[in-house]
Structures are given as C-alpha cells and as structure tokens.
C-alpha cells in the first residue's frame, strides 16, 4: 500500500491555498500542478516567469519559452516575464508563498539536502538554495526510504545541505510529517500505512 507519486502530489496540492504564488521543483513536485483543481494558484518558474502553463502541443514549442527544468512550456493570460535578478528577488524577498521540492535527505530539525552527493558527479544547486532560504513555506515531497530501504527522514543529514532548518512539511509515500520544536509530528498516514510502519521507516525523532 502507501501512496504512489500521483497521490503524493495530490496530497501536496492540498497544502496550497487560493491566491498563492508557488514554485514547483523537478520530479514529483511537477505533478502537483495536476491537482490544484479550482484553486487560483500561480506557478513561478525561477528562470523568469509567473503564471506557467502546461507543455505545448506538438509543433507549438517555443525555444524562448522554457521552465527551470529547460522544458518547453506555455504561457497563460496571467503570465508575466522578468529577468533572473528580479525573479530571485521575489524568491528571497518572501513573495513566493511555498516551494514544493524533492529531496535526498531531510533531518528532524528541518535541514534539507537535495543538491549534491560527494564523490559522485556534482551538477550544482541551481535555484534550490535560494528557494529554501526565501519562500514562505518549504514542502518536501519524496519517497520515505531510498532504494536500499534506508530512511531519508534522518536525525541529521549526511549529505551537504541545501538549507539549514528550512523544511516545514514532509510528504512521503508513507504519510505527512510536520517539522516542529523537537522533531517531527505525524500529521497524516498514507492509505493502509500504520503508525508503526511510518515510525519504523523513520530515523528522525517523532514527537
């Protein structure tokens, strides 16, 4: 049991409120856009756009219109474009209500690691460090454990950090955890997941 990618994305979409400006990371977070329903959500693409629309129809791709993942996208009637300094000005300035991001590791104090594995190829942090430092609320969406079955929800991150104490909410295939004073609080269990199961897969302190 537990949630699949789409269910995790749908659960993350529940965190978004009418009128919010939101930044979605690459991977599962991108799917969140499919589940916002009637809510008036404006998506930011940090390469310089508010009001990101869906992928274009075949033949309508525009090389001048891409998202932060370098994919061709489209514009909406609310869209505005701006330069990268302005874009990250609004991110650092706290104008983006929430970022929904993937992660390699999250720690019980809200530390986040999602940009680098030492000894492996280093690609760079892109805009992730700016996003976690600046947006109103950081929501992580990821699998609870890695492919070896080890917890990704840790007492302390082992990988180089993207941000210190920046994560507010963790949504995994097993449930939803909130970062609180002394650790993590269980907000919700995924379908068919027991509290024991969630605790068993979590290295971090659950309070």
């Amino acid at each position: 049991m537990a949630w699949d990618r789409n269910q995790m994305a749908a659960r993350a979409a529940q965190e978004l409120e009418d009128g919010m400006y939101v930044n979605l990371g690459i991977g599962i977070p991108t799917l969140v856009a499919n589940y916002v329903g009637d809510k008036d959500i404006t998506l930011q693409s940090e390469n310089g756009m508010l009001g990101m629309g869906p992928f274009p129809f075949e033949g309508e791709e525009d090389p001048d219109l891409i998202n932060a993942g370098k994919q061709t996208i489209t514009e909406l009637s609310r869209t505005s474009y701006f330069d990268s300094a302005t874009s990250f000005g609004m991110i650092r300035g706290g104008k983006i209500a929430a970022a929904i991001l993937g992660a390699m590791e999250v720690a019980e104090n809200g530390d986040l690691a999602n940009w680098m594995i030492p000894g492996k190829l280093v690609k760079g942090m892109g805009g992730a460090m700016d996003l976690v430092a600046g947006v109103g609320r950081v929501i992580v969406v990821m699998d609870h454990t890695n492919k070896h079955g080890a917890s990704k929800v840790l007492k302390e991150c082992t990988l180089p950090l993207t941000g210190k104490g920046v994560v507010d909410l963790i949504i995994t295939n097993l449930g939803v955890l909130e970062v609180v004073e002394d650790g993590l609080k269980i907000v919700e269990l995924a379908d068919g997941v027991s509290e024991e199961e969630l605790r068993g897969a979590t290295e971090a302190a659950i309070v």
Partner: protein, 234 residues
C-alpha cells in the same frame, strides 16, 4: 556614435585577452549569445573565467569553449547537462565556483549597480557560506556576497534599436539584463535591429546605456528539452 557592427568578430575586436572575465546571459540554451560565443571560439582567447548560470551542452553554446579548452573557471549554478564539463572538472583542468542561481543573478546586478557587496540568507549553513563574512540582521544570520565586475558582457536580446535599447522575448530574458549590466563593455547580439523610435520607450527592458556594441544575426535557438502534451480527443 555608432554601436552597430557587421558581425560578431568585428564587435569583439580589441576586447578579448587571455585571463579575462566574461559574464554571459542565457539560461540553459535559452537566450544565449550564440554568435558571440562562436566568435570567441574563433578568436582562440584562453584562460577565461566565465560567469554564466550554465555552461551550454556538449558542442553547443558555452560547451564549444570547453571543447577548445579556452575556459579555466566557471561561475555557475548548474552544469549538469554537459559531459565534457564533468570530464575536465574531475581531471582538474577546469575550476568551478558554484553560486546559488539567485546569488549569481544578484551578484551580476550588484556589480552593474555599483554595489560591491550585499547580504543574503541564501546558502547560510551550507558549503556556500564557508569563508564568507556572516552578519546578523534582526536576529537572523546572513552571508555577504560580492558584486561581479566583469571585463566583458556578452548577451542576446530579441530586438534592439540603433541606440542599443533592447527588448527580450519570454523566458529568454533571464540572465541577459543582469549580465549586460555588470561588464565594463557589453556586446549584444539580436535577431533584429530596428530603427530608433520603433520601440515604445515605456517598454524597453534594457536601456541602451548598457549596450556598447550591437550585432544582428541568425540564431539557431536550439531547444534543450522538447516536451509536449497530446491534443485531447485528437
């Protein structure tokens, strides 16, 4: 004063020297100064430090300058699309200074605006903060980042008038304005040079004061990730 040059090579004449720092506009392959990059390849200038969010892809954009070993250092936020980059980096031929994307953009904008240093929360508590000055404001810790003052800016716009007033198109704007601002000299390539007066003064993205030399040319505008959706019921 004439800003218009016949081609990229003539527009760069006298501006290039080994060991110089160049700020380049573009994000991924979107809005990159293709023609100027090609002319820099041709020039053979080497030991370049390049401030650019990315380093092109293998064989296109700034990736061409990697193939020719003309770059010694990159200041970037993401270089994951480029195998040759990784090879040169891991073999020690190439230095990389990682900058968070917003920090890089702001450092360029700051350099252009006469601001040698500013404080940001971005990167506090990470490797990015190591060796940088820390300072508390209102109970929160920030790090100081320095403005970038490049020897040369190379940027790409959509259209410009004869005085260099420029407009960009959609997300091809990206790093081009801040990169243009931070160079001692800025060379811009555009798809079309239009007569003075044909751009609405209210709607100019980058005033001509930032643009010293200007060329018009054909652009390939390669797409890096072609993603599409299906027409429903088609």
């Amino acid at each position: 004063m004439k800003k218009i040059y016949p081609d990229a090579a003539s527009a760069l004449d006298g501006l290039l020297h080994d060991g110089m720092q160049i700020a380049a506009g573009g994000f991924g392959l979107c809005g990159i100064p293709e023609l100027l990059i090609d002319a820099i390849v041709e020039s053979g200038v080497k030991d370049l430090t390049i401030a650019s969010n990315n380093c092109g892809v293998d064989g296109f954009g700034l990736g061409k300058l990697l193939d020719t070993h003309q770059i010694s250092k990159m200041m970037s936020s993401y270089v994951g699309e480029n195998d040759e980059f990784m090879r040169q980096y891991l073999s020690g031929e190439l230095e990389i200074e990682f900058n968070p994307q917003g920090t890089l953009a702001e450092r360029m904008r700051a350099g252009g605006a006469g601001i040698p240093g500013f404080y940001t929360k971005t990167g506090v508590g990470t490797v990015i903060a190591e060796g940088k000055e820390h300072k508390d404001f209102d109970g929160e810790t920030y790090i100081m980042e320095e403005g970038i003052f490049a020897d040369l800016s190379i940027v790409k716009a959509w259209k410009a008038d004869e005085t260099g007033n420029a407009v960009f198109r959609k997300t091809a704007r990206n790093f081009n304005p801040p990169a243009a601002m931070c160079g001692k000299v800025c060379v811009m390539e555009v798809e079309e040079i239009v007569p003075k007066g044909s751009l609405d003064p209210d709607l100019i993205h980058l005033p001509g004061i930032y643009v010293h030399r200007l060329i018009q040319g054909e652009h390939e505008k390669r797409i890096e990730q072609r993603t599409v959706r299906q027409k429903e019921g088609a």
